[in-house]
């Protein structure tokens, strides 16, 4: 335990899962495990980030992720500033790099950025002196989501290696899917993607996954069923014909779930569209659904990320 809490992390930023290896991931998960325990105690506060400044830079609205990062920083004793840039500087014509330079001058220790453009955190990381955490960029990656999913799975199943994980829904536009595919592949799980042909990238198989367009096939013997949120603007006419058709063929209900293993774990990054991608009967069944636990592990993972990325090597 002492090692976990003191060894430095091999990376300066957390921009994507792809550049981590199994050791990095295990280090993050192990530390997060201890923070998960801490969060369940009465006195949740620590001082490992005391005196440090964390800026949450959200170009896209997100209550959940922003709150989770804010809570994580505060539990570790950091000074946390939330900046919703979308409504202020951008409108005044300030570019991302302008913002980065301005923030950098304030000497933060860690910047958490969410942006609607893929690659924005990478650009930011080249312009600032502090650690940058990708809080979700476009359709590219959402690394802390994949890490919290991995932690949830590991706690429930005891391992990641060898598990069959079916990621279902809008793969094409999902940063959650891309991060999870990368992480699960690194950790030796067997990943499947399941979705309509219009929402699965044509070259999906090249990401190291098996591709299915029928839930019954994709869910067969799955240990984990990871549902993705379908954005309503994608529902009408363009990618899928209607909510009722989507739910009929790709919404997770008890009937489709029978194809998975009897002890399959259901996950969803939230917020859920009930009756679109998941039936309430399943979402609310605590015996099979890990959705609340994912939220809890989110705080723990983000604490671990903030902690490790602000440690100085040597």
């Amino acid at each position: 335990m002492t090692n976990v809490n003191t060894i430095p992390f091999a990376h300066r930023h957390l921009l994507d899962i792809a550049r981590l290896n199994a050791g990095d991931i295990n280090q993050l998960l192990d530390l997060a495990e201890s923070y998960a325990s801490l969060s369940r105690t009465a006195d949740k506060k620590q001082s490992v980030l005391s005196g440090k400044t964390q800026i949450n830079l959200f170009y896209e609205n997100s209550t959940r992720t922003r709150t989770s990062f804010e809570l994580a920083g505060k539990r570790l004793g950091a000074d946390v500033i939330n900046m919703s840039v979308g409504s202020s500087s951008v409108k005044k014509g300030e570019t991302l790099i302008d913002t980065a330079m301005t923030l950098n001058a304030m000497h933060p220790d860690v910047l958490v950025i969410r942006h609607s453009d893929s690659g924005a955190p990478h650009l930011l990381s080249q312009k600032v002196d502090c650690a940058v955490i990708n809080g979700g960029d476009g359709s590219h990656e959402h690394p802390t989501q994949a890490l919290l999913d991995a932690l949830t799975i590991r706690r429930r199943k005891g391992r990641l290696e060898g598990l069959i994980v079916a990621i279902c829904g809008d793969i094409q536009h999902s940063r959650v899917a891309r991060s999870n595919i990368a992480l699960l592949n690194i950790m030796g799980a067997r990943v499947r993607v399941v979705g309509p042909t219009t929402l699965v990238p044509p070259n999906a198989a090249k990401m190291g996954v098996e591709v299915y367009h029928k839930m019954s096939d994709g869910l067969k013997d799955a240990d984990i069923v990871m549902m993705l949120r379908l954005q309503t603007e994608r529902m009408q006419g363009s990618f899928v014909p209607s909510v009722r058709e989507y739910f009929h063929f790709f919404g997770l209900d008890k009937d489709k779930l029978t194809h998975a293993k009897p002890d399959a774990l259901i996950m969803h990054p939230g917020p859920m569209n009930r009756g679109v991608e998941i039936d309430s009967e399943i979402a609310d069944d605590l015996n099979i659904s890990a959705i609340s636990e994912q939220v809890e592990m989110g705080v723990a993972i983000r604490m671990a990320c903030l902690d490790l990325l602000t440690r100085k090597a040597g």
Partner: protein
């Protein structure tokens, strides 16, 4: 108790699926084909079989028409299931594929069930249904292909409307491929065809009508084939009429793409001179082309580039045809004349009889995934008896369709259906 057997003997048996062309007979029992072949003769028939001498006429599978507008519900003043059924039976069509341009449009699974039920109750021949590609045929949002497929549609199409939005077409193809549904397209680039009423060329110039260039067809075919290459979806061009588009189909087929194409009798039998005197009854979409394009269509039917001949039966009321040419609605009826008009190709020695029948039986059945269009023991006895030589003159008013907008009114044709059976029951007799 043994069910009665009906024996059709002394017939020229024609089955394109097995390349059969021989004298023989066929036995019908309980609405199904019990047996058929050269061994069925007057002797050795089951006891108490009723025997019918076919007098050497051709006995063939009933035609499968891949493309017809039945107008019910909503446009019953033009055609009903019942009148279309009578026209089909008289033309030797035992299965027809109803297109979704009804009111309301067939873009909802509940409507598929209603139309199927209505067809079963009132139509003399089998009806299968093509669902809409876009909601309301408006070209904006994909219809619910999956639910339509579960309700029983055999294909997806927006009928006479081409899809101008390439992204929509891309997604429609990708989405339809999940359900193995063919998408049937009207191959005419909408912007190029906009406002045009006849094909570009000498005749249009003389007549002073706004024309549609030939390339409007090839451009859309080229575009869609690129998308087929990307998505792997099944794609069928409903009615091709130009050499360039046919060349594109040839290349796509050479590449092994899941592409098929069809045409209609008026494209291989008529050219744009038919529009002389501003004959609105010959106004169709795409328009009748110049002679060299017509010859290219025949060539493509011969070499298999064109898989299917369908009627493109599109009833229009007299009111919508008896107007100045540019205001007339496009479309002709074709169920009753489909076979006799196409037999011209046989009489002109352009195409073998079996090949010609193949384009109207096995090929459309395969396109639509139907167990029809061939003589097969145990299959429904959907068969026709026709005399390929019988001469007759088309009288539009005497045709059985409710609308009379035939382009062949007054034409002399050679060949006529004598009798049509559906499920072993006679539904038409001349």
């Amino acid at each position: 108790m043994t069910l009665p057997v009906h024996a059709l003997v002394n017939a020229r048996l024609l089955d394109p699926a097995t390349s059969t062309d021989e004298m023989g007979g066929l036995l019908i029992q309980d609405g199904k084909i019990l047996d058929w072949g050269s061994h069925i003769r007057n002797e050795g028939l089951p006891e108490q079989a009723t025997i019918e001498d076919c007098q050497g006429f051709c006995l063939a599978p009933g035609l499968v028409d891949a493309h017809a507008y039945l107008c019910e519900p909503g446009k019953e003043h033009r055609e009903t299931m019942a009148t279309a059924g009578m026209a089909a039976a008289a033309g030797g069509v035992t299965t027809m594929n109803a297109f979704p341009a009804t009111e309301p449009v067939i873009d909802d699974p509940a409507l598929v069930e209603m139309v199927s039920r209505r067809a079963k109750n009132t139509c003399a021949v089998n009806v299968c249904i093509t669902g809409a590609l876009t909601k309301g045929l408006l070209g904006a949002e994909m219809a619910e292909f999956g639910l339509l497929a579960q309700a029983g549609v055999v294909a997806i199409s927006d009928g006479q409307f081409a899809i101008g939005n390439i992204n929509l077409m891309r997604r429609a193809l990708a989405y339809a491929s999940m359900f193995d549904l063919p998408i049937i397209v009207h191959a005419e680039e909408p912007a190029l065809a906009s406002g045009g009423v006849m094909t570009g060329g000498r005749t249009a110039t003389f007549m002073g009508l706004k024309s549609i260039p030939n390339c409007s067809e090839a451009i859309l075919v080229e575009r869609d084939i690129r998308l087929v290459e990307m998505t792997g979806a099944r794609w069928h061009a409903a009615h091709l009429s130009t050499a360039d588009a046919l060349d594109t189909i040839r290349r796509a087929k050479d590449k092994g793409l899941p592409v098929t194409a069809g045409t209609a009798p008026h494209y291989h039998a008529l050219n744009d001179l038919e529009l002389g005197e501003y004959r609105t009854f010959a106004r169709v979409s795409p328009p009748l082309r110049e002679e060299e394009q017509r010859l290219a269509v025949i060539e493509a039917l011969k070499d298999g580039t064109l898989d299917v001949i369908s009627s493109q039966h599109l009833p229009q009321s007299a009111d919508s045809k008896r107007v100045p040419f540019a205001q007339a609605k496009p479309g002709v009826i074709g169920l009753e004349t489909m076979l006799p008009v196409s037999l011209r190709l046989y009489h002109n020695k352009d195409i073998e009889l079996l090949t010609l029948l193949h384009r109207m039986t096995v090929a459309p059945a395969k396109l639509l995934g139907l167990d029809a269009g061939r003589l097969k023991n145990g299959a429904a006895a959907d068969i026709i008896l026709f005399d390929p030589e019988k001469p007759w003159q088309v009288d539009g008013d005497a045709l059985k369709s409710k609308s009379k907008n035939t382009a062949f009114d007054g034409h002399l044709l050679q060949g006529r259906v004598m009798k049509t059976f559906v499920d072993g029951t006679v539904v038409f007799e001349l």
